[in-house]
Symmetry: C2
Subunit: 280 residues, 2 copies
């Protein structure tokens, strides 16, 4: 008898991460909510779960920096990625109007994605550990409203006062599925993520790295810097590129880059899962 | 009679931003606390204040993304920058011990800069609008502790339970002073900040831009991407470089770049203010 696969996500039930994990699992999977992203990485590193789904980037607010830092620290791999359209709503206790509301509660990413909307409401904001925690709080406090997904209305017996309140209509969050291994063989339609830091942060160092990709005709889909934590002005670069690390041109470029930098790590080669595709 | 200069900062009194603003003003300045960074930019754009001091980057946690987004949106200039060493402490009501504490409160940046420390405490975290708000809350709740600077102990009658709890000892926050104009003339020791977005996000576009800087021997001190809000995969690049926009080689490079990109803005040329230097 096969044991069920265990997949961790940022809980509790009702978060956008919960929505994301439901898109990528089958019936032989147990999903396990975690209170924060660091706990998920630790649990995966300790073999308490087999995989995890974590947010890495939002099209409005940018990177989820805890995820980037954890990818640097832990020796785990990206197995797949998933882009989930994110629609925010304002939910209150049934029968309440906006005039009854004295405080807006939500997770910090949701707040950031609705910053202009909240600014116009001119009501104070309360940051909570998750959108679902905020909804539970609102279910007990008639003067509070929560920003989150529609699922929360049913789960916490709330009413949706305002729909699609995110500042930018094409608001998308990119989730990654992490595990002990990435996708071993090229599918012909893969991405690869790497991180590196430059020797002594010399000027022109990044230019030289980008030149290696240009020479091999490799498309970069993202380049981002994060502090190396070693003091102001020292950075780690996160680069996403099109292709699998086993394709000859990619392998050649990555080998050349590895010889030129002070730190280099391949986070994984993986496919993009299309939502509302073959996976439920 | 001259009117006093009005300088806005992220309040209330006792925050690290308050510490920063005190380093750069003289006796003819009125300092005005604001509840959030967006309010500061709006107030400056509406001439309600003359200048403002806002955090832009921390060596552990990275950019303050609200500041980057506001610099993109508003037509304001960077006049100067200041790097402030940030030391965090754990403060509680007098006589309390760590065993009395059930929740840790602070601003989200302070929490992020002490993430490992908090993780080891294994106590829940409550995000507040500022370190000073959190201290006020702790002064009324004997089971809560606040993470913040030493000033809070005196101001809110608290006791420091643990010193220097930031995860990385060389923790520094970079603040910028913004106003209607930047520093008009080169001092010989300036930095210039620009933002740009690439035509159709074509591959090799960033490589071409970096090549212009390399050809003119211009050192870049920072390059960072932010979402353009136009959908996943579209970015605005923030670049800091050494030199003043009126120096011939910088002017030549910036003119060349402006002709190659779809959006280009100079955020200002400015000097770095050394803390504990001539300014009090």
């Amino acid at each position: 008898m096969n044991e069920n696969k265990r997949v961790g996500y940022l809980g509790p039930e009702g978060t956008f991460s919960h929505e994301a994990v439901l898109k990528v699992i089958d019936e032989n999977t147990n999903i396990i909510p975690y209170p924060n992203i660091l706990n998920i990485f630790e649990s995966l590193a300790n073999n308490e779960i087999d995989e995890a789904v974590v947010p890495i980037e939002n099209s409005t607010e940018g990177s989820v920096v805890i995820t980037l830092d954890a990818l640097t620290f832990f020796n785990l791999k990206i197995k797949a990625e998933l882009e989930l359209p994110i629609k925010h709503n304002l939910l209150v206790q049934k029968g309440k109007t906006i005039d009854d509301i004295q405080v807006i509660c939500s997770h910090q990413q949701a707040i950031a994605q609705c910053r202009n909307y909240i600014h116009n409401l001119k009501k104070p904001v309360h940051t909570m550990p998750s959108t679902a925690n905020a909804a539970r709080y609102v279910s007990e406090l008639s003067t509070a409203a929560v920003i989150g997904n529609k699922i929360l209305a049913k789960k916490y017996d709330l009413e949706i006062l305002d729909y699609n309140i995110q500042d930018y209509s094409n608001n998308v969050t990119r989730f990654i599925i992490i595990g002990k291994d990435d996708q071993k063989q090229p599918s012909g339609n893969d991405k690869t993520s790497i991180i590196l830091s430059l020797e002594g942060d010399k000027p022109g160092g990044l230019y030289e790295i980008l030149g290696i990709f240009v020479n091999e005709n490799i498309n970069l889909t993202k380049i981002e810097s994060r502090p190396s934590k070693q003091g102001m002005g020292k950075y780690i670069f996160f680069i996403d590129l099109e292709g699998h690390q086993k394709e000859p041109s990619i392998k050649k470029a990555l080998d050349a880059i590895e010889s030129k930098v002070s730190m280099f790590k391949i986070l994984g080669s993986y496919k993009t899962i299309t939502v509302e595709g073959e996976l439920k």
